[in-house]
Amino acid sequence: MQQSNYIIEVQHVSKRFGEKVALDDIHLNVKKGEFVTILGPSGCGKTTLLRLIAGFQTASEGTIKIAGEEITQTPPHMRPVNTVFQKYALFPHLNVYDNIAFGLKLKKTPQQVIEKKVKAALKMVGMTDYEDRDVDSLSGGQQQRVAIARAIVNEPEVLLLDEPLAALDLKMRKDMQMELKEMHQKLGITFVYVTHDQEEALTLSDTIVVMSEGKIQQIGTPMDIYNEPINSFVADFIGESNILNGTMVKDKLVHFAGHEFECVDKGFGEDMPVDVVIRPEDIYIFDPSDAAQLTGVVTSCIFKGVHFEMLVQTQEGYELMVQDYHSFEAGREVGLLVKPFDIHVMKKERTCNTFEGKMLDNTHVEFLGCSFECIAQEGLEAGDKVQVEVDFQHVNLQDNEEDGVLSGDVKFILYKGNHYHLTVFTDWDEDIYVDTNDVWDDGDRVGISIAPEHIRLNKL
């Protein structure tokens, strides 16, 4: 007998739908009794991962264990898990009692036991005396409570929740969040919760798993994820943040926004390009004085209820978001200060675009499925395999897709203080990263071209 502390073990799991990779080599261990949230934008694979655990789909590769037993190929009705669906999925032809009793009746539980358990489950979700109601006569929140009761009445090892609150209005959602948290504590079973709402994830979870594009970006406690995001994607997705390009001058000294700042990070090496993340509430804003590290002009100031959200254009041309309890109206000159431990330095995932390519002739190279003109270079002949490098700022985007050598869709936009960093998904199914001052929207169709002198070639 192999003993393990984990209730769910997901190992090397990949899932492909035809050519499309939905999940890419996922590792995830969940401790017994934990409240784990899988967080990510739509299409990141979070629901697919949940469905693999529930058994509605089977993994293309890898193994999934629940309570130490391998269940990768087990059909859903034989797994010790129950699911709460986004759209409730109550059985419309049954009343509340019969909905909740559905699972128990299938297990041939004695009548009296069923009655007792259904009553207890209804009490747990605060729906006592609703047994005989038609499910269609209930409000969205009540239906979701019944759906939760229907799942927990079977006393599963793991409760899976697929965006259970997404269909509810804000007020109801807040109430249900608190109730779910209480329920988790009372029941003591493991919750795996899927959501795209970062606030919900921060409020509810013991552990957050941030996913993007079929990969796990970061696993950690809500505090870890918020305070120490591992890359610019996580920083941008969780909460508001200022993300800037910077250079690590040496240990504990970083250069960004035209100045050098003391920080607490080290071990990056000297003169390394990095991403710098500063939360808007960590920037101090005050009237210009000697204490200011940066000076600038407020360009907008919006009241957000508890705090004011201000945009400050610094002298060096960077735009920073600042949150403070005091307002500085637009047009006013201000000083800004950031404390060393509030500066989060992250290694860049990449510093330029790299592709594998092939020389077609002296002045043409093929990569991304297209032929690009390039500068003739000695020692390179037709047929040679090359590594192609293109800097982010040297990729040109055109409104008219016919004007580019190839076309693609803008799929992720990151504002970096003085320019935008875009991820463009090309028709060749590869991403190309672009730095630009132009404003593009998510989903824009663009033409892509690269000037010959900006294509760097290295023989492989």
Binding site: A54, F56, H77, F85, A89, L90, F102, A151, N154
Partner: protein, 263 residues
């Protein structure tokens, strides 16, 4: 004001054109005259002689055959059609489109073509024609209609409820029986009624598949009777009864559809 009267008048004119033949038969079913058109006073005699039997043994037989065929054909095509609808619903969208199109072909196809092709099929396989072949033929042309009436119920269903049933411990078969079936039942019932009425009034397909062993359904009986010269007077009350039955069934189907829409 004038246009409104004109519009109303036109409507009534159309209705009169549509329904006067049936009305005439219904009115003259309440008289004894042998020839249609003669009114010899109000009487239930034709009704009583229709049901007293004896005289019209072959007519009673034809009625029995018609209802037996309709019942079997409607039941079997409801079962087949429902299963087919579930299968089509679970296909990927492209294959689903192709299957829905394929399902519509027999519906658009003229009855006479269906009849001839089934006739040729049975002949080429050397199947002797009779009760069985008529039932098979009726199942063939009724099933697509059942698919059509079950599909909307499936589309309206929350796609997660099948998975929810599996999740709660139901085997795929139990999930089908306890969750999917109750959901599509109204569509199945509408499909059954539709298939039943289609089977009862079918002539073109029946005449090609009925063989020459002396088997008659109502439609072939009336056809043969008319060819012999003059209709048996008892057909008037029979037509009236069938018309009223079908009318009631139609009202039931429409009411059901209305109720479903409201839901």
């Amino acid at each position: 004001m004038m246009t409104r009267i004109m519009a109303k008048g036109y409507l009534w004119f159309l209705l009169a054109l549509l329904y006067s033949p049936i009305l005439i038969i219904m009115i003259f079913s309440f008289t004894e005259a042998k020839v249609l058109g003669n009114w010899t006073g109000f009487s239930f005699k034709l009704y009583s002689s229709l049901f007293s039997g004896g005289m019209h043994h072959s007519l009673i037989n034809a009625i029995w055959n018609t209802f037996a065929i309709a019942l079997i054909a409607a039941s079997v095509s409801t079962a087949l059609g429902s299963i087919a609808a579930i299968g089509i619903y679970n296909l990927r969208s492209r294959a689903r489109g192709v299957m829905n199109f394929t399902n519509n072909i027999p519906i658009m196809n003229p009855d006479i073509i269906t009849g001839v092709s089934l006739f040729l099929l049975f002949v080429s396989f050397g199947i002797s024609q009779g009760f069985t072949t008529v039932v098979l033929a009726h199942i063939a042309f009724c099933t697509p209609y059942v698919v059509l009436s079950v599909t909307p119920r499936l589309k309206k269903m929350n796609p997660n409820i099948y998975e929810a049933a599996l999740d709660l411990g139901a085997t795929p078969f139990q999930a089908l029986r306890k969750v999917i079936l109750p959901e599509i039942l109204p569509g199945m019932i509408s499909g059954f009624i539709l298939a039943f009425t289609l089977s009862i009034d079918d002539f073109a397909v029946t005449i090609f598949t009925i063989g020459n062993e002396g088997l008659e359904t109502l439609s072939t009986y009336i056809y043969a009777d008319a060819r012999k010269g003059g209709l048996t007077p008892e057909l008037r009350p029979l037509s009236t009864i069938i018309f009223v039955t079908v009318l009631v069934l139609l009202i039931v189907i429409n009411k059901r559809a209305e109720k479903q829409k409201k839901e």
